[in-house]
Amino acid sequence: MHEPLILLLAAAYVGVLFAVAYYADEQAALGRSVIQSPVVYALSLAVYCTAWTFYGSVGRAATTGPGFLPIYLGPTLTAILGWVVLRKMLRISKHHRITSIADFIGSRYGKSAGLAGLAAVAALLGVVPYLALQLKAISASYLALSGQVGVDPGTAPVHQDTAFWTAAALAVFTILFGTRHLDVTERHEGIVAAIAFESVVKLVAFLAVGGFVTFGLYDGFGDLFRAGAAVPDVRDLYTLGGGTTGMMEWVWLTGLSMLAVLLLPRQFQIGVVENIDESHLRTAIWLFPLYLLAINLFVLPLAVAGLLQFGSAAEADAFVLTLPLAAGNDALALLAFLGGFSAGTGMVIVAATALTTMICNDLVVPVLLRIPALRLAERSRLTGLLLAIRRGGIVCILLLAFLYVRTFGQEHSLVAIGLISFAAVAQFAPSVLGGLYWKGGTRRGAMAGLVAGVLVWGYTLPLPSLVDAGWLEPSFITAGPFGWELLRPYALLGLDVFEPVPHALFWSLLVNAGAYVVVSVLTRPTLVERSQAVQFVDVFRRAGPAAPHTGRATAPVEELRKLLRRYLGGRRADRALADYARQHDLDPAALTRADAELVHYAEQLLSGVLGAASARVVVNSVVQKKRPFLDEVMHMLDETQQALATNRELQAKRRELQRTTRELQAANAELRELDRRKDDFVSTVSHELRTPLTAIRANAELLRDHPALDPEQQAVFLDTIVREVRRLARLVDQVLDLQRLDAPGDGSPHRPVDLRRLVANAAAAVRPQVQKRNLRLSVAVGRGEDAAPPPESEPCVVDGDPDRLFQGVLNLLSNATKYACASVDLRVRPADDAVEVIVADDGDGIHPDDQDIIFQPFTQARRTGPQPGSGLGLAIARRIVEEHGGTLAVDSEPGEGATFRVCLPVREPPASGERTPEKESPPPATGCDEPELDSGRPKATSPSIQDLRSAP
């Protein structure tokens, strides 16, 4: 067949793939994702069927009969029995934004960069031969189709090696597909759609060839198998126990494939990372096995037909192509080629994408981040760099695969290479499965197991294959290295009952699992490991995504934003932060300090780009941990500590609640008390109003009923009425006064007040009461203790409202007059920066408990006195004094009388040499202007409710 035709067809096919991917991406951008369908998910899972399936199954069936089946029984069993495991991996990966199987392992064991890197290396080692296998299959099919049978491309110069051009083409292809987007994290919807499409193509192609051979060249299955039964070699293939496949082989092959379909990087990529809906699994668990059944339907018939046609010496791996070619059906042969091509390309695209993600996230970036000279943290955008790393990774991977083909490819059948890969990825089994179900697995355990497993795998499988390549002496296999028989790579410790692959599998998994368990038991996990372990194992028990392990970490939001912009790109970073703010009802502009939750959110976002381990390193560079040593402390604690912490938190909350309740109760009690006092006050005021009202009414009615009284008598009653009306007015004034005191700043302007004269006037005002009770009132002004007359030189001037100050002093004086037994002392004396007014009585005194209460409005001390008052006088006095920046205090012992002490700040001396306030400034007020100092009318100036009752 013409090579240009084949190349043209392949190019056209790739064009169609691009169209499919492009269409899918377009639809996704429009919000109509074509991969929403569970069928697409199930079909994309069929990336499991590679060129190995397409060509190799027939090859294997031609030698082992049904022995090709375990490779497909395994995935079927995994789908049917192991979907619980798959579902758990899915859920975990979604919560933690896992990007690859290496990321999964690293993340599970404390976001360990080392472990993720190790897993990436293991995956690379395991998968490169598998990729090589695809190259080999594609190039072999090309050669077969173009009629160059028997040409060994491995001996040709590189530029004539079809495998090289295949690798180059696939590298370009994968770069265009897998790293087409600048955005490195979003799901590759286009790839998934293209892979599903390829699954259809390879199935259709294989069924077409199978159908043509079975029903075209032969007359159905019966005819074909009857023909085969006539040939002894072929007949042996029909029986299960026949061929070369023993029961033992069936078991380990099936088990190995069960693990492979879970752990192969490309299966993880498609089945877990690219999955968009967990419920798709429900369709996949029956549709995927059905697909496998369908694609294997014609494997045995094709093998039988090939053997009948070409004999057992022919290249059985090529029967799918050579059978239609031999029958002259070139079109079908081209379709078969396309089917094999699609199987190979699908695998390469996905596997290379998955591998390059691992290389980038788990190998290159962690290293770059640790090289300070690169100053990665200072770059504003790293998406370009990440993309370049990934593209470079793809080229390297395919180059490695090509070198593998060129070096070893010709010596191994497709199946052998495939099984080496399967055995390699099986090394992930202990740490992945253990990590899913056993919280006790530690990072060191996983590391030990993986290293041991990969080393044993390398020693027992790829290393001996170097013998075939001529790099090692055959005695390495037969006698062991340096003649140590116990170390023979195919018969370690003398175990020689197994074939090489199951032998390697046995030892590597035994050592791997053993090291994993033993080291895990012997080592202590760190806090992060413990937290991740719980989140992985108990993923279904937790309602939401992972709780922030970052705990007490905070960071400036701007730093986080810069970080996100660097790795995600500006638009996406801003959108993500805006999303966060919206979800948490926060004002995006007000976000300044990121709390632990936002830090965790950012780390998760970055995990999607960089993998968990690198994301952690990057985020930690901007995070300020409040108490880093806490990790070590927490290290000692068990999981139950978390419950205790929650409990403690609850207790703290409860205590806070109790405190608030107590405060509210106190406030409530205070309000009640205030309310009660107000009621009392209103009641007192109304009582006090009734007394003058009664007097006025009685006197007025008397005058009305006795108009004939002589004028002198009338005058007495009229005077009484006038006096009582005045008293009423004063009472009303005082109530208003108290209200005004409650709203300060409404007083008249201050002026100089001479306290000596004010006190003298106040003394004159209470003289009638004093006389009435036969008291002695002494007035003294000056520093001395004696009651000498005030020397005029002593300045006792304060700034203030004279009326108010007069009222305050009068209230104190009235109070003293009321309670005194024999004498009242009134004294004014200058102190340092103040003037003191002291009012002392010799009454029963005030109990210490009551000394505060007496100054509160509406309260009355339990003080034995002539009569209960309203309790307003002292309250008003104190307020007036405080209004003037002074203090009013009481000093008293029960039985020893009471001393009230007013202390007012002295007036600032006038600025320009003025000597006395009397001479230069307006004369100081004395407080006698407004109060009526009519000595003939007792009580005329008394403003205190206590004093409103006049004595007989």
């Binding site: 009734r690 009685a698 006197n699």
Partner: protein
Amino acid sequence: MATVLVVDDEPSIVLPLRFLLEKQGHEVQVVSDGARVLPAVRDRTPDLILLDVHLPSRDGYDLCRAVRAEEGGEAVRIVMLTVNSREVDRAKGLALGADAYLTKPFAIDDVLRQVDELLRVR
């Protein structure tokens, strides 16, 4: 004619009461301090007492009971004059032995009529 004891510490109220009672021919005695009521009663038992409740030293309710306990105190007519206008205060006064209960501010005619009535019954 009768003897009336006026117990109140408000001279402005005592003044018209005394004037009118004396005008009607009664003999009026005034006391302004609660402590001096019982001595006055013992000294000369009045026919009627006009008793204020709010008094220095001793309140009217207490005095009312005390007067009733005195020898011959049961015969004394007692009229309580008080600012306590609540029904419960009135009931308390009457329960303690008052013959009448008048709330301030009272109409002076009511006081005189009450005094007349009580003295006539005697």
